[in-house]
């Protein structure tokens, strides 16, 4: 790979692009003014959102920890799941906000947390006078800011709605006030639901770092950070099973290394370990859906994945739990970009332990 060839392959930047760079550089102060105006508009928009949410305050204030799971593909926890919830997990405050972690659960595979953030000054309503962001990470993560690709964070779809976001010094979105996982309470405080499943599996106690960023200054790019440590004890036992696929190479260049499902009373987790090296014109990446033997959907093309060497990838998908381990599941493979189904692969389940 020769650098000159590579650079020539992309051609020189077009005139229009260079003109935009030049124009930006020539009007930095002016643009700054516009930017401030834009950010002011942004916070005004956030205020509208806050007021709209406040209008739905009654409904919002009744939400509980498991309401996080009421997404577009609802997961209904089993009857015993309520008893796994831990309460009053921690409290922290600075001169601007108070943070209380009200409820949480760690079932050995995933974490759900509900926290409440309120303004110290009752005149200030969060989301209008104060802008804030919340992030959470496992102990191993160096939490300097809420970073979207990290393990656990506010709702990603919402966070990417950049027009209602605050950025950190690296230009990373750190806050979003229109996330489906936030709600304004009647007293003006805000509740946040955090969820994640990319963490140590089945440890007895899971230490976590919670980071809340807050700012009064709408022009501040890096808000003040309030951090706290907390830990969740593992609750409940998972029922695990291996998936035995009828075809380990359901289509070209995809090979399953292992697949395991773990059912807890909160939700189910399907962990897939596979190798996929796409050829020209094959989908660049894959996603998966899970169906029961009758063809009912148990997940919705979502999950957390990590890349390994040589095309190896590990993916964990949250699915509806089950009191008893079913005998059979169907895995649907989709094009990761278009979400077009590629094929369905039946698997039988062999209980572990």
């Amino acid at each position: 790979l020769k650098r000159n060839d590579l650079n020539r392959a992309f051609g020189p930047a077009p005139e229009e692009f260079l003109n935009r760079v030049e124009d930006t550089l020539n009007h930095l102060e002016e643009r700054n003014m516009k930017r401030r105006y834009k950010l002011t508009t942004l916070v005004a928009a956030a205020l509208i959102v806050a007021l709209l949410l406040a209008g739905a305050g009654f409904a919002a204030s009744r939400l509980k920890l498991f309401d996080y799971l009421n997404g577009s593909m609802p997961i209904v926890p089993l009857n015993d799941a309520e008893s796994m919830i831990q309460t009053e997990l921690g409290f922290a405050e600075n001169e601007l906000i108070r943070v209380a972690v009200e409820e949480g659960v760690y079932d050995g595979y995933g974490v759900l947390l509900k926290l409440n953030v309120s303004a110290v000054d009752p005149e200030k309503r969060l989301g209008s006078a104060l802008s804030l962001a919340v992030g959470l990470a496992t102990e191993e993560e160096n939490v300097l800011w809420v970073s979207m690709p990290k393990a656990v964070f506010i709702d990603e779809n919402g966070a990417s709605a950049r027009h209602n976001s605050v950025y950190n010094e690296d230009g990373v979105v750190v806050s979003d006030l229109t996330s489906a996982r936030t709600a304004q309470e009647e007293d003006g405080s805000m509740s946040f639901w955090l969820s994640g499943n990319e963490m140590p599996v089945n440890v007895e106690e899971l230490p976590l770092l919670l980071s809340v960023m807050v700012t009064e200054d709408v022009n501040a790019v890096k808000p003040e950070e309030l951090s706290m440590e907390l830990s969740l004890k593992r609750a409940g036992e998972a029922r695990r099973a291996h998936l035995v696929f009828e075809d380990l190479s359901p289509f070209e260049n995809l090979n399953f290394v292992s697949a395991e499902v773990a059912y807890t009373d909160v939700r189910g987790y399907l962990t897939l370990d596979y190798i996929y090296q796409p050829n020209y014109m094959q989908p660049l990446n894959l996603m998966f859906n899970v169906y029961d033997a009758d063809g009912n959907a148990l997940s919705q093309a979502d999950g957390w994945g990590s890349d390994g060497p040589e095309g190896r990838r590990s993916e964990r998908i949250e699915i509806q739990s089950s009191e008893e381990t079913p005998g059979r599941l169907i895995l649907e493979i989709l094009d990761g970009e278009t979400l077009a189904p590629i094929c369905r692969v039946p698997a039988t389940l062999e209980p572990v332990g």
């Binding site: 790979l1 650098r3 060839d5 590579l6 650079n7 020539r8 392959a9 992309f10 051609g11 020189p12 930047a13 077009p14 229009e16 692009f17 260079l18 935009r20 760079v21 030049e22 930006t24 550089l25 020539n26 930095l28 643009r31 700054n32 930017r35 970073s147 979207m148 690709p149 990603e156 990417s160 709605a161 950049r162 950025y167 010094e169 690296d170 230009g171 990373v172 979105v173 790019v221 890096k222 090296q277 796409p278 050829n279 020209y280 014109m281 660049l284 990446n285 890349d307 060497p309 040589e310 095309g311 970009e337």
Partner: protein, 159 residues
């Protein structure tokens, strides 16, 4: 760093900035918006840059984040069959470009930063906030995939 130096250092890497946006965003208008936003963010946050020597790396990191934010917001990525754009480069180079753009993003960005822009693996690790070993393994994987893509392309019957 004063405004003049800031502008001069941005101008010095504007071709790099263009190529990075090309690799990450499909629409020319998005590329221009992304680079403008990145320059403004860098300018606004200049006092926070501790080591001015790292300015270029820092600006590129901001630009990559800006491009990714736009991708997520718009829910679209560079598809393999949607890259062609009028260019004055030869067919061989077009194939090379298309092959690079056909790489998954997690491989494409390290390839562009390393082989095109000449950044070292530890600098790329800093920009992408991933371990240096991961950068190296992604580069290895990208080379293999690029070779496959180009071999396939060479062996393709002509239309």
């Amino acid at each position: 760093m004063d405004r003049e130096e800031f502008a001069s250092r941005v101008r010095a890497i504007q071709q790099q900035l263009y190529r990075i946006t090309f690799g990450l965003l499909r629409e020319p208008a998005d590329r221009m918006d992304a680079v403008q936003e990145a320059i403004l963010k860098a300018w606004c946050n200049l006092p926070r840059l501790r080591d001015p020597a790292l300015f270029e790396t820092w600006l590129i990191r901001i630009l990559i984040n800006e491009c990714r934010n736009r991708q997520r917001y718009q829910r679209r990525f560079v598809p393999t069959d949607a890259v062609p754009e009028p260019s004055a480069v030869s067919d061989d180079l077009t194939e090379l470009r298309d092959a690079i753009l056909a790489l998954p993003e997690n491989l494409r960005v390290p390839v562009m930063l390393h082989y095109m822009e000449g950044y070292k693996t530890d600098e790329i690790a800093q920009m992408l906030r991933i371990p240096t070993g991961t950068v190296r393994s992604r580069l290895r994987r990208a080379r293999t995939l690029l070779k496959n893509l180009l071999d396939h392309s060479e062996g393709r019957p002509e239309d």
